[in-house]
């Protein structure tokens, strides 16, 4: 169970990184479109 928890935390951190990157990129694209 604890090994699963460790893998879950690693996968969640990776996903959070990808998600935040996409949100920031989305914001940047919107800014560029407005210019």
């Amino acid at each position: 169970m604890s090994a699963n928890l460790g893998v879950m935390i690693v996968v969640l951190i990776i996903w959070l990184g990808v998600f935040v990157y996409l949100l920031r990129l989305d914001k940047k694209v919107k800014e560029l479109e407005r210019k």
């Binding site: 969640l12 996903w15 959070l16 998600f19 996409l22 989305d26 694209v29």
Partner: protein, 220 residues
């Protein structure tokens, strides 16, 4: 914006649910959890190649270069998701069958699919004239998609395969998963599909912006 937040929450919730619940198949143990990522990623591969084909048809009928751009981006993403499905499948194969690659019909068919769409990307990069590239790759993309249903759905069911075929639906095309697993699985399918459309949308917009910037300043 709301659907982007939904994508984040959905995939996050799927990750938590998949790792906290007992393994979906007791005989296979923890490795069976990969099913909730492997199948949605494979599904997105088919979805991306379908989007590429639809855009290719639209390009040939309307000759709008945006459709060509959309077809190219969708094919690139489909190729990327096909690699992810192959890698996650190989991890499953190592744990369930003893080796990463067995030339099982399912593995062979995804390998052929990667070759077909790899050739599409090579074709695009080999032709410099924009019109010619767009026309040829649109025709190729439509022909390539005809093979997808055969390679993904038919071949692994016609030939004897180690790959499980009745995990989601049985031979009567009825869902046979317990409700909780089905709920998590459908959540994962939706989450990965939304993720695909998000990345696709971003890439299309970025490429259009890049082209506009290049028109204004060709030195860039």
């Amino acid at each position: 914006m709301w659907w982007k937040i939904l994508t984040g929450v959905l995939i996050g919730a799927v990750v938590i649910a998949v790792f906290l619940m007992p393994p979906p198949q007791k005989e296979l143990g923890d490795i069976s959890r990969i099913f909730f990522f492997h199948v949605p990623v494979a599904w997105v591969t088919v979805l991306a190649f379908l989007v590429a084909m639809v855009n290719s048809i639209l390009y040939l009928s309307r000759k709008n270069p945006v459709y060509d751009l959309q077809a190219a981006i969708s094919s690139q993403l489909g190729f990327l998701f096909a690699i992810l499905a192959t890698v996650s499948g190989a991890i499953f194969a190592k744990n369930a069958w003893g080796s990463f690659w067995n030339w099982d019909p399912r593995e062979t068919s995804v390998f052929i699919l990667l070759l077909i769409y790899g050739a599409y990307l090579a074709l695009r990069s080999a032709i410099e004239a924009e019109d010619r590239r767009a026309n040829l790759s649109a025709v190729y993309s439509i022909l390539a998609f005809i093979t997808v249903p055969f390679l993904v759905f038919v071949v692994p069911r016609v030939f004897q395969s180690l790959h499980p075929t009745d995990t989601i639906v049985n031979s009567q095309i009825k869902f046979q998963m317990p409700p909780l697993l089905l709920f998590i699985f459908l959540g994962s399918l939706l989450g990965f599909s939304l993720l695909f459309f998000w990345i696709y949308n971003l890439e299309v917009k970025l490429n259009i912006l890049y082209k506009k910037a290049k028109e204004v300043n060709p030195a860039r």
